[in-house]
């Protein structure tokens, strides 16, 4: 199975240079039926990665640029009247796809965000009186621009919880950027070809589910999540004032699934503590709510997660 993953990674490397963390996060999301929130400045190959992934998997991919005047029907679809035969027909929106890039999701008003996030959870769309099941896989990669704060509608914590992971995409290294520059200038990017079909993807998803996780590690995961809710209980009195809310049970589920997927991507049949350690920041950083005092002091949620992992003994 790992050969298929390697093949997929190689194919993606044809179009995307660097950004291993984003690709790995997308694959974890894809294997676990989760959705990914990406935070990063423009121009970090987010659209390119989604397109490359869809091509490599032979999947359909669409992109929605979220704007303040966007309406729910613009993404879901609508019933359209046909004057010739006096009938109504359903016009499906861009949501009907396998991979969806929701660019700058925080630019759209909350009713559009809610419509999208509901679909992400239910994986079905109701237009007029007709309900349509979305095809599997359905992965949403939403992006947020961390720089601009004017004219944006920040996602509420309840909706952020719907995202399995939040990836912080950084700039490429200088060597990678040099390579990108040369490839673009010489138009030497080769076409990405399908290497895995949907059936194979489903098989991979089933394989991920089979990855063994020890009961001790399962407890460890629950303890990690519990620690976010009661830092004092786990001996972290010095940072107890930093958190307003801890992670939800959805975080435990996503951490459990993500750790399995990570282990699978590493070619292992079992989950080790390192797999949990690799994904815990991505799973938790958007789910814990920092207190006002912590934000004033410039404390980041990643620092709290680091403190938790440092404190709780690994099995």
């Amino acid at each position: 199975m790992n050969q298929k993953i390697d093949l997929l990674k190689k194919e993606l490397a044809k179009a995307v240079i660097g950004q291993d963390a984003m690709i790995e996060g997308l694959l974890i999301g894809l294997l676990c039926d989760g959705h990914i929130l990406v935070e990063g400045v423009p121009g970090l190959a987010k659209t390119t990665t989604i397109n490359a992934l869809s091509q490599a998997l032979g999947l359909d991919a669409k992109r929605i640029q979220f704007t303040p005047d966007l309406l729910p029907s613009d993404i879901i679809g609508a019933q359209i009247y046909n004057p010739q035969d006096h009938s109504f027909s359903i016009k499906k929106g861009p949501l009907f796809t396998h991979l969806l890039l929701a660019d700058e999701i925080n630019r759209a008003p909350s009713k559009v965000q809610s419509a999208l996030l509901e679909v992400m959870q239910e994986r079905q769309v109701t237009i007029a009186e007709e309900t349509f099941k979305l095809e599997n896989p359905f992965l949403v990669m939403a992006t947020q621009n961390p720089i601009e704060q004017e004219g944006v509608y920040a996602l509420p914590e309840a909706q952020l919880d719907r995202f399995m992971m939040k990836l912080v995409v950084t700039h490429n290294s200088e060597d990678e950027e040099l390579e990108i520059m040369r490839h673009v200038a010489n138009k030497s990017f080769t076409e990405v070809k399908p290497v895995i079909d949907i059936q194979a993807l489903h098989t991979l998803q089933e394989e991920v589910m089979k990855v063994h996780i020890d009961a001790e590690l399962e407890k460890y995961i629950v303890q990690l999540i519990s620690a976010t809710r009661d830092l004092e209980k786990f001996g972290m009195e010095e940072v107890k004032h930093c958190l307003m809310f801890g992670a939800s049970p959805r975080a435990s589920i996503d951490l459990y699934k993500a750790a399995k997927a990570k282990a699978f991507l590493e070619g292992k049949s079992f989950v080790s503590p390192s797999d949990i350690g690799y994904v815990i920041h991505n799973v938790l950083r958007h789910r814990i709510v920092l207190s006002y005092e912590a934000r004033a002091k410039g404390v980041r949620s990643d620092e709290i997660i680091t403190k938790i992992v440092e404190t709780l003994p690994i099995p």
């Binding site: 350690g277 680091t306 690994i314």
Partner: protein, 385 residues
């Protein structure tokens, strides 16, 4: 020149026993005659003496004018109270009337200044031919006439006399009670006929009280009968404690009746309510004493302190950052890890990709029975930082 003296006595119509002695000295010059009349030849010092000088033209061929007055002297004072003129053609007659107050006992010479101004009808007519824009002077031939002085035999006043004449005194005190240093107004008025009562000081300026005075207000009218004068002395008394104003006694002499009399202000008692001296004391210097104002230094220093506090606070962020960088807690943590598991926990918590290899080695040691020394993994991890 011939001289004749005439004495007359006139009884006063109101029955007052007054006998005026009138002496007339007649003089004759080439162009005019003149006479001098005096109502008494032996007046008392400061007694009013009426002197009348009459001039009468005798040369009727010319136009005659006179310039006459009494000469000033420290032995007497005088006041011209009337001039009577009869301006007949070439027969001028003029009478000058004076009140003279001798100021010296014994022989007092009252001296005169007389200038005869002779001119012609043509000169007068010529002087009138001008107008206000073309005034023409009258051309006269002036001749100074030396007149012998009028000799008065002045009698002395009784000892201690301050006022000469018939005077009355009244006084007015608004209140006899007041607070400490409150001004207590008082007014004394002397009114009557005689030598003007120029008393400079009625009361001593200070005793157990302080006296504030104004310049006396004098109203005086002179007539042939003498000088009627009203002098008002306005003053205010002030004292810290109650005080007694001593009686005021002014000795006066009436030369007409030749009797002494006294003008009296009786003893006055004033009640003064003493006030708290601490309230009266002005504790604040006014104008304020000159003190060099250094408050700006304090203000400047306070601003400087605030500025430095802000500046250092801003810098402290950098210092803290540097301190943190210098401290490098992660390195210390890695160094202090005593077991493979502890080190794994530390490296996992960092979410750093460059620790992947070290983490794998640690897991292999922990879970797959490989045996990589902890020191070696530590070294490898430290090199990655």
């Amino acid at each position: 020149m011939s001289l004749s003296i005439k004495d007359t006595s006139v009884k006063h119509s109101l029955g007052k026993i007054l006998f005026l002695c009138l002496h007339i000295f007649w003089l004759q010059a080439g162009d005019f005659d003149y006479s001098i009349e005096v109502d008494k030849s032996q007046p008392y010092m400061k007694e009013a003496t009426l002197v009348t000088v009459n001039l009468k033209q005798t040369n009727h061929d010319i136009v005659l004018l006179f310039d006459f007055d009494l000469l000033k002297s420290p032995d007497y004072t005088f006041q011209r109270i009337d001039i009577k003129e009869v301006d007949t053609y070439h027969a001028a007659e003029i009478s000058y009337t004076y009140l003279v107050y001798p100021l010296k006992v014994g022989k007092v010479d009252v001296t005169f200044s007389l200038t005869q101004k002779a001119t012609t009808d043509e000169s007068v007519a010529y002087s009138f031919s001008g107008d206000r824009d073309n005034v023409k002077g009258l051309v006269t031939t002036n001749t100074h006439i030396d007149l012998p002085p009028l000799i008065l035999d002045v009698k002395p006043l009784p000892l201690g006399t301050e006022l000469v004449g018939d005077f009355a005194l009244d006084y007015q005190i608004q209140k006899h009670e007041g607070e400490a240093f409150e001004p207590l107004p008082m007014q004394i008025r002397i009114k009557g006929k005689g030598y003007p009562p120029a008393v400079k000081t009625l009361y001593p300026k200070e005793g157990n009280f302080t006296r504030f005075t104004e310049k006396p207000f004098v109203q005086s009218v002179s007539t042939r009968q003498g000088t009627v004068t009203t002098v008002t002395y306005a003053m205010a008394l002030s004292a810290e404690k109650s005080f007694v104003l001593p009686p005021l006694v002014i000795k006066a002499f009436n030369p007409l009746t030749e009797k002494n009399y006294e003008l009296l202000v009786p003893k006055q008692t004033f009640k003064v309510q003493a006030s708290d001296s601490s309230k009266l004391l002005d504790k604040a210097d006014n104008p304020a004493p000159f003190i060099l104002d250094w408050s700006w230094v304090e203000t400047f220093l306070s601003y400087l302190v605030v500025f430095m506090a802000g500046y250092l606070s801003a810098l402290s962020w950098k210092w803290q950052k540097k301190t943190k960088q210098k401290a490098e807690p992660l390195k210390e943590k890695i160094q202090s890890a005593s077991t493979h598991k502890q080190l794994l926990q530390i490296l996992l918590s960092q979410d750093k990709k460059y620790f992947t290899h070290s983490i794998k080695k640690l897991e292999s040691t922990l879970y797959e029975n490989e045996n990589t020394p902890l020191k070696q993994i530590k070294k490898e991890a430290l090199e990655k930082i």
